[in-house]
């Protein structure tokens, strides 16, 4: 038998390959449309001249965007959410990063139980996390409020910070640190000038993740908030009688702000890679 060049793929074969190659693109487009339908709907109805009930399209207006605090209590809820988010993010990022460094850079006893303790809050449904914290606060006669929300948010954010930062530390090339030590940098200098700057993008990503988890959390917050309102709680409570269009303005703004942060982050990291 002599080897011969493979025959040109037949027309139908090429057509079916073209189709299968593009089928998945068509499919992905449909999936993305599906993902964005409620986002687009929320954005569109932020321009609704709705009055009290934002259920049916009543006409186009910019009033909601000019006066996002127009609906009662909505801005107080947002301010609470931002304050809780910032405080929780700072605490959770510091504590989580410290744990990540301990796991990623040190040997110690109890490593597997530490990993389990980090993993368990992520594997527990929010309703259980919320209910158990509330059960403890009630047993201790502590009234839930602003600080109990912060405590709860730090608790569930720590694990996500640890896994994010740990992944970044694990992806570092240990030779960079060895090189610094070879050049007579001591442990502390190596950490400050080599390790920390390299891990920083991971820490920043973890902080953003923690803030968005905190800002968007409803179930755990609802259990441990007492009478304090947050933005998701405001939406849930007002869902029964119709959500004011101002809530759509705030939701849409959050969307665009977060999108800008992510895009800027991507551009910055790409530029760094080029240099």
């Amino acid at each position: 038998m002599t080897t011969i060049a493979p025959p040109m793929p037949s027309l139908s074969h090429r057509a079916s390959r073209w189709f299968s190659r593009n089928l998945i693109r068509i499919y992905a487009t449909v999936a993305f449309i599906y993902l964005f339908i409620p986002v687009a709907y929320t954005f569109a109805f932020s321009f609704n001249d709705a009055g009290k009930s934002n259920l049916v399209w009543q006409g186009f207006t910019l009033d909601n965007w000019k006066n996002p605090c127009g609906a009662p209590q909505v801005c107080q809820a947002v301010v609470n959410s931002i304050e809780i988010g910032l405080i929780s993010t700072i605490i959770a990022t510091i504590l989580g990063t410290m744990i990540a460094f301990a796991i990623g850079r040190h040997r110690f006893r109890g490593r597997s139980s530490t990993n389990l303790l980090i993993f368990l809050p992520m594997a527990t449904p929010e309703v259980v996390l919320g209910a158990s914290l509330l059960a403890m606060f009630l047993n201790l006669r502590i009234n839930p409020g602003f600080w109990t929300i912060v405590i709860a948010h730090v608790m569930f954010c720590i694990s996500f910070v640890v896994v994010t930062v740990k992944a970044r530390i694990a992806s570092l090339d240990p030779r960079l640190e060895q090189a610094a030590m070879d050049l007579y940098a001591n442990e502390r200098e190596t950490f400050r000038h080599v390790t920390l700057p390299l891990v920083m993008p991971g820490i920043a990503g973890a902080a953003l993740l923690a803030f968005s988890l905190s800002f968007d959390d409803f179930i755990i917050t609802n259990f441990n908030s007492g009478t304090v309102s947050t933005f998701p709680k405001f939406v849930y409570v007002s869902a029964a009688r119709g959500i004011p269009a101002q809530a759509n303005v705030i939701g849409s703004s959050m969307f665009f702000i977060a999108l800008i942060i992510v895009i800027v982050g991507q551009v910055v990291s790409r530029q760094r890679k080029k240099n």
Partner: protein
């Protein structure tokens, strides 16, 4: 995204890059672990303790004393077994649907997106930036009786006038599927992206056709992502009560709805605690069995 990489990546032990004094790791661990023990582990015990409490006769609402009444668990389960089973059924269906929707999407981003890969990844996460509750409320209005979908359906000749989409099991399961889709897509992407293209070429060289390559090479190599994604979808879905509250009706209530109303509307803390504890125990057992069976212990 990185955290999902972390959730699926295999971590070797500590890199032998730095020496460390023996107490440093404990100083680093202490504050965070103390926080987790105080506000996660101790509350779980508190929940267990509350679950066997009893309200003394004639006592004020919300006052309970410890009587180690384990019958609470039986009572709570018997009274709410429908919602309990429903939670796992809905969460299971939503997880399978999310896997079916997300796998091709993740596959496309990992293998066919070229230079647009990062943009597409941002697009998967971007819907998350609008509040979870606002998106769910948006679905109630889109699928609602006066919404665009129902109005369009009613124009069709063969559609019944009384058709409803909200306040149905369909709406609750769709809401669950939608809300946890990125949790499924990202770990799938992370594991697909890590597949060395040469393994796929090798399969082709060994005369495997496209489908066989997919079935025998791609799918097994993406299993860590499948496991992580299904867990990240199933666990929050089983405990969720927002979708059932906003998109469902009284007959689609899930266990989360019961726990919430026992706590706040009925002020029956022991039943709520017993239900929460049973939910957590069931999920932990299911997760452990699942991880064992799929042979991916890397998650922990």
């Amino acid at each position: 995204m990185a955290f999902l990489h972390g959730a699926t990546a295999t971590h070797s032990g500590p890199k032998s890059g730095l020496k460390s004094r023996s107490y440093t790791p404990y100083l680093l661990l202490a504050p965070g672990l103390i926080w987790l023990v105080t506000f996660f582990i101790i509350p779980i015990f508190s929940l267990a303790s509350t679950s066997t409490m009893v309200r003394p006769e004639g006592a004020q609402i919300g006052t309970y004393v410890q009587e180690l009444r384990f019958q609470n668990y039986v009572d709570a389960f018997v009274a709410n077994q429908d919602q309990y089973i429903r939670s796992f059924v809905y969460a299971g269906i939503a997880t399978i649907l999310a896997l079916a929707i997300a796998y091709p999407l993740a596959y496309m981003i990992a293998f066919k997106s070229g230079k647009y890969r990062n943009i597409l990844l941002v697009l998967v996460v971007a819907p998350f930036f609008t509040s979870f509750l606002l998106r769910t409320v948006a679905w109630t209005q889109i699928l609602g009786d006066e919404g665009p979908v129902i109005s369009t359906l009613k124009l069709l000749p063969f559609v019944d006038e009384s058709i409803r989409l909200t306040a149905t099991p369909f709406a609750v399961v769709s809401g669950l599927t939608y809300n946890f889709l990125p949790f499924m897509t990202l770990p799938l992407y992370a594991s697909l992206e890590r597949i060395d293209p040469r393994t796929l070429e090798a399969a082709g060289d060994l005369y495997a056709n496209g489908f066989t390559t997919f079935r025998k090479v791609t799918v097994p190599l993406s299993m860590p992502g499948v496991v992580a994604g299904t867990l990240l979808t199933f666990i929050p879905a089983a405990g969720d009560y927002v979708n059932a509250a906003l998109l469902g009706n009284p007959n689609t209530k899930m266990i989360g709805n019961v726990i919430e109303s026992r706590f706040f509307a009925v002020v029956d803390y022991p039943t709520a605690a017993a239900l929460s504890f049973t939910l957590m125990a069931t999920i932990l057992i299911l997760v452990t069995l699942y991880i064992r069976r799929s042979g991916t212990d890397e998650l922990v």
